[in-house]
């Protein structure tokens, strides 16, 4: 069957082991999908490939072909995916247009295809061709606003392994904002779904489920919507556990629930805990496994003896990346994008130290560097490339908006006081006593409890990091940007005027 395929796809599938499948003709072109996820770039396991044969080229202008490809993108719902176009002929005229990021196409002409077929490193040469045509910032796997899985998932392999190797245990993935909780949850979910044999997977985003009823209704809707009607007629406290057991029997061996954003649910259940007692009971019976992700409320419950959370889940706490993880996050995609990093240890070290290993900030940092390379056409990053990252308005906004929106006046006052007390020196670890002294220097006295509570909020907002008795500012880059963007003395005075 593959005999009818373009020779390069045939070779990649038969000799090199890529997963390739024909997806049929569309608008007169033969379409395929190839799994390029192993490249650890933004290329998916279903990267579209369009085959433009010599016959298709006859009588068609380049403009016509471009229109067909644009229609294909719409019709096949390729979205922002990069598509590969194999041309059975000269690709030069098409290349002149497709270098625009608007098209997001990588064109491979007949001559290049022949070279790839004969090449000793067909994957490498194909990647060379793609990365020369598509902006590298488009191909890069870095993502700062949405969860990622598969080829774009970095650095939490240890946590994934921990969860997968304990299939009879419930897990609570905990950590501060933007640390990668949802990505880890979705990655484990993906692996469960692909594996298939571990159980029937149910994914729920619990952010808008505010009551036990909301939750149960959503579960029933996902598992057997026909029972929604019956649900209303029953006393759920008896009916729902029974429902879960029946569903577990139907979907052997068990149900595996992936519950994201459980904080609101925890908050609404506090004091009653009926729902969580049911979940715990279903887990104890072996009918269900729960893997959940949460932030502030879930983190608190882990340690409360009278909470049904206590001893219910194995905690998987996500912290900042270690140096090794940071190295892989920065270097692997850059190498795959054929970007040379000069003074590698220096560049990686500085990115790591300035972001304190926060994965979201590191990815933002790397994206800025790649966008710059796209603009200049260069393919080398050195320590010189790092000097004006802070000037990037997007980066500044990314850092500051989150701080301004997630903190109240008292928390802001603490941050400003600490920074003002360390004006000439880099801020190191500091204790609550130091915070108190810094505030008093600004003629402000907070109670011990107020400082403790404010520090907790700052930890949860990802501004402070706590280690033992000491606090740290999470990333030096945040401090730098805050100091550069605002006059902290003025901000502090205004806070005082407005009242703390």
């Amino acid at each position: 069957m593959t005999k009818a395929w373009p020779p390069i796809l045939r070779r990649l599938a038969e000799e090199v082991g890529y997963r390739v499948q024909a997806v049929g003709p569309c608008l007169g072109l033969q379409l395929f999908e190839i799994d390029l996820s192993g490249w650890k770039l933004k290329l998916s396991n279903r990267t579209p490939v369009a085959w433009v044969r010599a016959a298709d080229l006859e009588g068609s202008s380049t403009q016509h072909l471009l229109q067909i490809l644009a229609d294909l993108r719409r019709q096949r719902d390729w979205g922002r995916q990069t598509a590969v176009v194999l041309i059975e002929g000269d690709s030069r005229s098409l290349l002149a247009y497709t270098t625009s990021p608007l098209y997001n196409l990588a064109v491979v002409g007949q001559e290049e295809q022949e070279r790839l077929v004969a090449s000793r490193r067909p994957s490498g040469e194909l990647l060379d061709l793609i990365s020369a045509q598509v902006p590298i910032s488009t191909l890069a796997p870095y993502e700062t606003r949405a969860p990622v899985t598969g080829s774009r998932f970095f650095g939490r392999e240890y946590e994934v392994q921990r969860i997968l190797s304990n299939p009879d245990t419930n897990h609570a993935i905990l950590g501060i904002r933007r640390i990668g909780k949802t990505s880890l949850l979705r990655e484990v979910e993906r692996i469960y779904r692909e594996g298939g044999e571990s159980g029937h997977v149910v994914y729920l985003d619990c952010s808008d489920l505010l009551s036990a009823d909301d939750y149960m209704r959503e579960v029933v809707r996902k598992l057997n919507p026909r029972e929604l009607v019956r649900m209303h007629l029953q006393q759920t406290v008896f009916w729902f556990p029974n429902f879960l057991e029946r569903m577990a029997q139907a979907h052997k061996p068990k149900l595996v629930f992936f519950l994201d954003e459980i904080d609101n649910l925890v908050l609404m259940q506090r004091g009653d805990w009926e729902l969580f007692r049911m979940l715990r009971a279903s887990s104890n019976k072996g009918a269900c496994q729960y893997i959940m992700a949460g932030f502030r409320e879930a983190m608190k419950e882990q340690y409360l003896l009278d909470s049904p959370f206590y001893n219910f889940c194995q905690e998987v706490r996500l912290s900042e990346f270690t140096r090794r993880q940071a190295h892989d996050l920065i270097i692997t995609p850059m190498e795959n994008l054929r970007v040379h990093i000069k003074d590698r240890d220096e560049v990686v070290g500085r990115v790591y130290e300035e972001t304190a290993g926060h994965p979201n900030l590191m990815q933002y940092y790397c994206m800025i560097l790649l966008r710059r390379l796209d603009m200049t056409g260069e393919r080398e990053i050195s320590s010189e490339s790092l000097i004006d990252v802070y000037a990037d308005e997007g980066f500044k906004g990314h850092l500051l908006t989150s701080f301004m929106q997630n903190t109240e006046k008292r928390e802001k006052a603490i941050v400003y006081a600490v920074l003002l007390a360390n004006e000439d020196t880099p801020v190191r670890g500091f204790t609550q006593e130091f915070i108190d002294a810094s505030l008093r220097r600004q003629a402000i006295a907070f109670s011990e409890q107020t400082i403790e509570d404010a520090c907790d909020v700052l930890v949860l907002a990802g501004v402070f990091h706590r280690k033992g008795k000491e606090y740290f500012l999470t990333s030096p880059v945040f401090t730098k940007v805050l100091r550069r963007t605002y006059d902290l003395g003025y901000l502090f005075r205004k806070l005082k005027e407005e009242g703390l």
């Binding site: 912290s319 990346f321 140096r323 240890d345 790591y352 320590s383 010189e384 020196t425 033992g468 000491e470």
Partner: protein
């Protein structure tokens, strides 16, 4: 069991000075059955210093299994995660390297200090009992010379006084030295205690011979056991006498093992290091200990990727030389084992810089390069060095006065890489234009600014 007061004092230094811990900051000591005594002494010192500590004992049999299939308990991992500093006080066996590496990879974060003490015996703690201020200063003097220098020459002497010369290129900022002073800062890891500065020479550049008179791994040498190693194009080509006892020992314990693993790089000259710790009284054959002995230089064969080099090998074998002469760019740095660092040879005085030959003489604009500079609280400019992951060091830009002027200029030069006219810079800094150019010349020689 009573503890030698020098060992006890060293243990305290390890906690307070090397790891920089203060009362209330958490310390985790990871130990095994071979290092329990050392861990116990360290714990005793921690108690006396009111540093809360936890000892986690990971037996050798478990170390062999980690990371797979065994895993440290969540309790142990939690303690490590919460610690401000971790002391890896475990055996130095190569087959437990995976465990040590695993701990480093899973727990080395931006705020953790990791002290590495492989093969820690109580006596090793004495090394921390040195005059740390002096030790740190000596380490950084050699660091400046190694960082700025381009070529080093090592002269060693056989027991009967015959000199042997070895030369190697060290790049001049291209390769950065490691000043292993034993002080571990946030986000850093290193040997504790320590006292040496080392560099990975540029590959393929070492030529000449060295007479090894001190120790080799596992064996301290008597004068009759001294031997000569000859290098060509950066690789060990001959060892003489071939049948000498120390050479046979090396052959059996190091070289044969490397060859058996089809290692092609074991013979590469990987390191030249200077020992600077005066507390080391005699050489023992423990490389970690001997390489720090003041008055010695060691050369390393094999792997050096962990110090900024490019050679990956199955071994790293240190050969220690007693009382050699070491020169960098023809300036003597070590004279028969004595440190002879002359600040004026390495830290320029800006007013004495001859401007006529400098490209700054006619330059119009200046901008910051990507190399990191840092201003000290007392207003001196430092050039930041990052020789290996997690190790951040710095050296002053010129002498005191120059570093102070450089800090003033550095503040004015835009930190986003934009160009600034030198004439404007002189106006902002309220300094004589000629002096500004001279200071810029010095800053340029540290890689901190570029001009056009």
């Amino acid at each position: 069991m009573p503890v030698d007061p020098f060992v006890e004092a060293g243990a305290r230094q390890c906690i307070t000075t090397c790891l920089g811990l203060e009362p209330g900051q958490e310390l985790v000591i990871v130990a095994d059955e071979t290092t329990l005594r050392t861990a116990e002494i360290l714990a005793g010192a921690a108690v006396a210093l009111r540093v809360p500590h936890t000892i986690i004992v990971v037996p050798l049999s478990i170390q062999h299994q980690i990371p797979e299939p065994a895993e440290m308990s969540l309790l142990a991992q939690g303690a490590i995660r919460q610690a401000r500093a971790i002391l890896l006080c475990v055996n130095a066996q190569p087959d437990c390297l995976a465990f040590r590496r695993h701990l480093l990879e899973t727990h080395w974060s931006a705020r953790t200090r990791i002290g590495h003490m492989p093969g820690a015996e109580p006596d090793l703690l004495k090394l921390a009992n040195a005059d740390m201020e002096r030790l740190v200063s000596d380490c950084h003097c050699v660091e400046v010379a190694f960082a700025r220098g381009r070529r080093l020459e090592l002269t060693s002497f056989s027991p009967d006084g015959v000199p042997h010369h070895l030369t190697a290129d060290i790049g001049g900022w291209e390769r950065l030295p490691v000043a292993s002073d034993g002080l571990i800062d946030d986000g850093a890891w290193g040997n504790v205690p320590s006292g040496e500065t080392y560099i990975a020479p540029l590959e393929g550049t070492a030529e000449g011979s060295v007479c090894v008179t001190g120790s080799v791994p596992g064996r301290a040498l008597t004068p009759s056991e001294a031997f000569v190693v000859r290098f060509q194009q950066g690789r060990l080509r001959a060892v003489e006498p071939e049948r000498g006892p120390a050479v046979q020992w090396l052959e059996h314990t190091q070289f044969q093992r490397a060859r058996a693993q089809h290692d092609r790089n074991w013979a590469v000259l990987a390191e030249v290091g200077v020992g600077l710790n005066p507390v080391v009284e005699s050489l023992t054959g423990n490389s970690l200990h001997d390489a720090k002995a003041a008055g010695t230089v060691h050369i390393g064969l094999g792997s050096n990727t962990f110090m900024g080099g490019r050679t990956r090998a199955s071994i790293h074998c240190d050969l220690v030389i007693r009382r050699p002469i070491l020169s960098v760019d023809r300036k003597t740095l070590l004279d028969r084992g004595r440190l002879r660092y002359v600040p004026s040879e390495w830290q320029e005085t800006a007013v004495q810089v001859p401007l006529e030959d400098s490209p700054l003489h006619a330059a119009r604009d200046v901008s910051r390069s990507g190399v990191q500079g840092q201003r000290t609280p007392n207003g001196r400019l430092l050039r930041v060095l990052r020789p290996e992951p997690g190790r951040v060091s710095s050296c002053p830009v010129g002498d005191d006065e120059t570093a102070s002027l450089a800090a003033t200029l550095y503040e004015v030069i835009p930190d986003e890489g934009d160009w600034l006219a030198i004439s404007e810079l002189a106006t902002y800094a309220r300094a004589d234009a000629g002096l500004v150019r001279r200071v810029l010349h010095v800053m340029g020689s540290y890689g901190l600014v570029r001009h056009r």
